[in-house]
């Protein structure tokens, strides 16, 4: 299956490990990958700030970058949800509406692609530890994907998953919201951090790098030793027993 990787600007700038892990997992699952180099950003930061016309430049760039792709897969529910908004934004635009619809229809968030397109829930991962999962608002509500991360994590050997209290509450990231209204955002992320600590987990997992940088950055500022991992990194973790992949269930 031919898949184009959408790395997202946060992975490009800040967290290459999540992108690398995604690539390795998808290859292991038999996908043939390419990376359209002209991609940049989905346009969400400026779009959500109210700069509609300016944001369209970034959106058009993405539609062109992925024009010839069969599937587009990215490690962020939020960025993919933004792609899914394109048809609404370009509705009635004769040059771009169809391209917008086409991009929406072939775009999947990483876990969604594995479960819904590849039909796989066990990717053979192993990770010893106690973790909790933060569901991102954009992935669950705007993209409407509530299940696939859990389905995949349940199959990770050695991983103990603890439920996160108030998991449906936003972590306070919200893109530019986090920097434009830091006073409010910090209260939100503080409560999220408390909930994470309450679980007793050593690892915080999410499918959105924005939330992870926010919660992780706050945990680090408070000196709380919880490790953050993108779900791709978890699924790419085969540990010492990588050879026995798909073997012994623990």
């Amino acid at each position: 299956m031919k898949v184009s990787i959408f790395s997202t600007c946060l992975v490009d700038l800040m967290t290459p490990s999540a992108g690398k892990a995604m690539v390795e997992v998808l290859e292991r699952l038999g996908c043939e990958l390419d990376f359209p180099a002209s991609q940049v950003c989905c346009g969400q930061p400026t779009y959500n700030s109210g700069y509609l016309e300016d944001s369209k430049l970034a959106m058009k760039n993405m539609m062109l970058a992925f024009e010839h792709s069969d599937y587009v897969v990215g490690p962020s529910g939020s960025c993919i949800a933004m792609f899914h908004e394109y048809p609404k934004i370009f509705k009635g635009d004769p040059d771009w509406e169809l391209k917008a619809v086409a991009l929406k229809e072939k775009s999947y968030e990483f876990t969604q692609f594995i479960v819904r397109v590849l039909g796989i829930t066990d990717v053979g991962a192993r990770l010893e530890g106690t973790a909790t999962y933060h569901r991102s608002c954009h992935m669950t509500r705007l993209l409407g994907e509530k299940e696939t991360p859990y389905l995949l994590l349940e199959q990770v050997r050695g991983l103990q998953l603890e439920p996160l209290k108030n998991s449906d509450n936003c972590c306070g990231f919200g893109g530019t919201f986090s920097v434009k209204m830091p006073d409010i955002s910090s209260q939100m992320v503080d409560e999220k951090c408390e909930s994470v600590v309450e679980t007793g987990a050593d690892i915080l997992i999410s499918a959105d790098m924005g939330c992870l940088l926010n919660i992780g950055g706050r945990l680090s500022r408070k000196g709380v030793p919880v490790k953050i991992m993108h779900i791709a990194e978890v699924l790419n973790h085969t540990g010492e027993t990588a050879a026995a992949k798909g073997g012994i269930p623990s």
Binding site: F35, S49, H138
Partner: protein, 475 residues
């Protein structure tokens, strides 16, 4: 009270809210319990999504034919011997009400909960006219006797107060001698207010929905004060926002179910009443019935890009799930309409001059849109507000500069390539031990609260790795 409840700047109001630890724990525990109750009641209805669609259909149909249904309502109210008055502005509405009260030579007024009467500043006008006006909803009554403290929630107006604060107010203002148990406080209010009901000349109520084909209004309550207000005084004045109307009881029934379940997690509240002028032969109820239909800016929303905001049935569910409301509380919005729906309609009714921050006070998490029983796309409307505010150049030069620069960068592969190359070395001056510690504008907004690693070096970046991997180093 008017739409505006606080003259201070948004930042000051927010800081006040964040610093109010009692209010915040009250709000978060209320949110947590209401969330579960709402969910249980919604689930009990069966296919909730299908019901939301019915609710949305009813509201959109009614708005699309609003003039028809208001006309039908007026005909039927008049046929039943009632009066209906159409007020274009808040001044028209409150002076009409004052004139009715004056013409009845009435002094004693009991009132049940109504947000729109706050919006038209009716209380102020009536009190200035020398009336003795009593709010009879328990929450509103608490606020009134506490020198008209503004409401902080559209369903539970006194949510920001705890029982000890309420006891203190009761002791000071009512000579209450009991303890702080909610039950005893409520009983005391019952006794005081019972007398007020019996003495009142005029009763003023809101209106959850007017029922067009009946010429009646529908009140949805729990305490019983709304019904007493409409039973005992000889004159009743009901006030409604012009959009709060349904064709028949069949649509009303659907919306009442959505409202009760969404607002308080009850299947139906204790008292749902469809009422109008007293009929011949009946002993109580209003001999004289006035319905005041208020526009006050709504006709400008109708048919506009914000049309769907008028679908609102004031259940408050969006407040109860909002993570922003959770931390800043209702007063920080500076409006009688707080929370997500408040952030949408307050700027529409009160203008961007006073309220341009509200649409930005959202992480766009979409919880409000998800929970709305009549499917108002609340977070999308917040983005629409942001677009208008940007178009009117109200966000400030610095914001405009940053966002224009960002959009150029985010749409240009070559420019972005340069940034990827320069981000790490460029951030060295702002960093210590690989971590950014200070920075201009938005960066400071981030690092003031959270740690942030320096951007990766180009050699270690995902793109470089991917390029090498695809360039034949594949294992």
């Amino acid at each position: 009270m008017s739409l505006k409840t606080d003259k201070r700047e948004f930042g000051e109001r927010t800081a006040d809210g964040i610093g109010n630890t009692f209010m915040r724990s009250a709000v978060s525990s209320a949110q947590d319990s209401l969330k579960t109750r709402r969910l249980t009641a919604a689930t009990a209805l069966g296919d909730w999504e299908a019901w939301r669609l019915v609710g949305q259909t009813i509201r959109q149909h009614t708005l699309k034919n609003l003039d028809f249904y208001l006309n039908q309502l007026a005909d039927n109210i008049e046929a039943r011997g009632g009066h209906i008055y159409f007020a274009a502005t808040k001044e028209e509405a409150s002076s009409y009400i004052r004139d009715v009260v004056v013409s009845k030579q009435a002094r004693k007024i009991v009132k049940s909960k109504s947000m729109v009467t706050e919006e038209i500043e009716m209380n102020k006008v009536l009190i200035e006219a020398g009336c003795d006006l009593i709010e009879t909803d328990l929450g509103e009554y608490i606020l009134q006797i506490d020198d008209w403290d503004p409401p902080s929630h559209i369903v539970a107006p006194a949510l920001h107060k705890d029982r000890n604060q309420i006891k203190r107010v009761f002791t000071e203002k009512l000579g209450y001698t009991g303890d702080e148990s909610p039950e005893k406080l409520a009983r005391h209010a019952r006794a005081v207010l019972r007398q007020k009901f019996l003495e009142a000349d005029v009763g003023i109520t809101g209106c959850n929905f007017a029922v067009a084909n009946m010429g009646a209004i529908n009140l949805v309550t729990n305490e019983g004060n709304g019904d007493l207000t409409a039973a005992i005084p000889k004159t009743q004045i009901a006030v409604m926002g012009m959009e709060r109307i349904v064709p028949t009881m069949e649509e009303m029934e659907v919306l009442d179910n959505l409202l009760c379940r969404s607002a308080v997690g009850q299947k139906l509240t204790s008292y749902i009443t469809v009422m109008g002028p007293k009929a011949p032969g009946e002993s109580d109820g209003p001999d004289e019935f006035h319905l005041v239909v208020v526009d006050n800016g709504r006709s400008e929303i109708l048919g506009s890009e914000f049309n769907e905001a008028l679908q609102c049935i004031r259940c408050g569910a969006c407040l109860n799930v909002c993570p922003i409301y959770r931390h800043i509380g209702g007063h920080a919005y500076g409006s009688i309409y707080p929370g997500p729906i408040g952030a949408v309609i307050t700027p529409l009714l009160g203008g961007y001059d006073d309220y341009k921050e509200l649409p930005f006070a959202s992480s766009l998490c979409g919880a409000c849109t998800d929970v709305c029983p009549v499917k108002i796309p609340l977070h999308e409307q917040l983005i629409m507000h942001r677009q208008n505010i940007v178009k009117e150049k109200r966000t400030g030069a610095a914001d405009r500069f940053q966002m224009k620069a960002a959009s150029r960068l985010l749409s240009s592969p070559s420019l972005f390539g340069k940034v990827l190359r320069l981000a790490n070395p460029g951030s060295r001056m702002m960093s210590k031990h690989g971590r950014i510690v200070r920075g201009p504008g938005l960066i400071q907004g981030w690092v003031g609260v959270r740690d942030l690693n320096q951007p990766v070096k180009q050699a270690d970046s995902f793109r470089t790795w991917m390029k090498e991997r695809q360039g034949g180093t594949k294992q």
